[in-house]
């Protein structure tokens, strides 16, 4: 069963790609971190990250966890955003057999999963090839 509080807490990141920027070294992170893993600063601010980038690598999920069954096969990939932040995300609106690393992608608001027939519906930004 999906955790409603966990989903709710993450809505800014899911809906608007809110990550964190380290005021110490300037690096950006997604999802947001409380402590910079490079310079160990705890002085980080929340920022909305760019919504365009390049697909670096990906895999195709054919045996999904519960709640994702109806969406298979789907692509989970690493997108390097324009500011260099890397985001683990789904890539949609593409032929999974023809997708290639290096594809320019743009964020799109999509349904991620639903908690059975009567539970909540979860949404988030995914990425799709730029056209």
């Amino acid at each position: 069963m999906a955790s409603v509080p966990r989903y709710w807490r993450n809505i800014p990141s899911y809906y608007r790609l809110v990550g964190s920027k380290c005021r110490g070294c300037g690096r950006t992170w997604f999802p947001p971190r409380r402590c910079c893993p490079i310079c160990y600063s705890r002085d980080l601010e929340l920022i909305e990250l760019p919504t365009e980038g390049v697909l670096e690598e990906f895999t195709i999920i054919r045996t999904p966890p519960s709640g994702f069954d109806y969406y298979t096969p789907y692509v989970v990939g690493i997108v390097k955003l324009r500011d260099g932040t890397r985001v683990l995300t789904q890539v949609v609106d593409c032929d999974v057999t023809e997708l290639k690393p290096g594809t320019e992608v743009v964020a799109t608001f999509r349904r991620v999963r639903e908690d059975g027939d009567f539970g909540i519906v979860m949404y988030a930004l995914k990425f799709r090839p730029k056209r």
Partner: protein, 354 residues
């Protein structure tokens, strides 16, 4: 109805899913004569929401495009109204999802509006009133649907997915179109309905024509022209609700409007009937090509039944907004055809149980 203080469109934006199914494919499955749909109803294909798309996702994408054209931040929006008959939740507003996704929360009016296919223009009128009253500076009116149709029903040939969003604000120098006036024509006419817990709507077949669509659309248009002292020839473009490609042209003929003024906003042949988004998508297609000074008539129709007729005058400054977001034509042309099997899966007509 005219507001005491001027209200205008500051931004328009649309979203049309990229999947299409041809009417030939639907006719093949159910054994219907495709010629009736192609020739009599002027339907070629319809837009189908992808497997991870619904009204919330379509509304968010359209809203973001409208905000780009308005060139304002989501936090400036004081009201979000989503007109739809395909809410993802029976109870829980779609508008809160949209408001959160565009960064308009928490000080924002937000609600879903239901009036069959008229819900989008109903939201437009509510937002017009809110802006005119000064309660909010900018309001976002959205019409979006992933229209339901019983498999095998005639509606399945047209019921489509799409959305259109409008940022309304003061009729100042940043507005791209002035709202000149509007009227509503509403009666209790049960031509089409969906009962609670029913997955698909029912309709009264031929009754949906003369006593429903044409009566409301034509009377709303005539009343608006009467109130504003205008004639049909005063409008450069006319957009009607589009249950198919043929009805809007027949309504235009009844009002003495040449079809050349209707065709720029006529999308049903290529994307189907997007229900609450239909007339607002047509208006967006017109704004994509309209020039300053031109006058546009929009007439929606929602079963149950009613029509909103709205007159707009395009203003200077529209040209530089057109390219700030994808046009209707961009979305219409970006398409991938699917067969009935994939369509059934996308629309969750077939499901599996684990």
């Amino acid at each position: 109805m005219r507001t005491r203080v001027g209200v205008g469109i500051h931004g328009w934006g649309v979203y049309i899913p990229r999947y299409r199914i041809k009417v030939e494919e639907i006719a093949r499955i159910w054994g219907y004569d495709v010629n009736y749909y192609v020739k009599s109803l002027m339907l070629k294909e319809k837009a189908v929401a992808g497997i991870d798309e619904d009204v919330a996702t379509i509304a968010v994408e359209a809203a973001k495009n409208a905000l780009k054209r308005a060139s304002i931040e989501g936090s400036k929006v004081g009201a979000v109204y989503v007109g739809t008959e395909s809410k993802p939740y029976a109870v829980k507003p779609t508008a809160t999802i949209v408001a959160e996704a565009i960064g308009a929360t928490p000080h924002v009016l937000a609600a879903d509006i239901e009036f069959a296919c008229k819900a989008g223009t109903e939201a437009f009128q509510i937002c017009t009133g809110l802006v005119a009253s000064g309660m909010v500076e900018y309001a976002l009116a959205i019409g979006a649907d992933t229209a339901q149709a019983n498999p095998g029903d005639h509606l399945e040939f047209s019921a489509a997915s799409g959305g259109a969003a409008y940022v309304l604000g003061p009729d100042d120098s940043r507005a791209v179109a002035s709202i000149e006036g509007s009227v509503s024509y509403v009666t209790d006419t049960p031509d089409f309905w969906r009962r609670e817990l029913s997955p698909y709507p029912k309709h009264a077949e031929a009754f949906t024509g003369d006593p429903a669509y044409f009566r409301h659309v034509v009377n709303a248009a005539r009343e608006l022209m009467s109130q504003l002292g205008l004639r049909a020839s005063d409008f450069n473009y006319v957009v009607f609700h589009q249950p198919n490609g043929a009805f809007p042209l027949r309504a235009a003929a009844m009002l003495g409007i040449p079809k050349e003024k209707v065709l720029p906003g006529l999308l049903a042949p290529e994307i189907g009937n997007t229900y609450a988004a239909s007339s607002l998508l047509g208006l967006a297609a017109v704004l994509d090509v309209a020039k300053p000074g031109e006058r546009i008539l929009v007439v929606s129709y929602g079963s149950g039944a009613g029509s909103d007729a709205i007159s707009l005058i395009v203003k200077d400054g529209i040209e530089e907004r057109k390219n700030l977001a994808p046009t209707v034509r961009d979305y219409v042309n970006d398409k991938t055809y699917i067969d009935y099997g994939l369509y059934a899966r996308f629309r969750r007509i077939i499901r599996y149980v684990r």
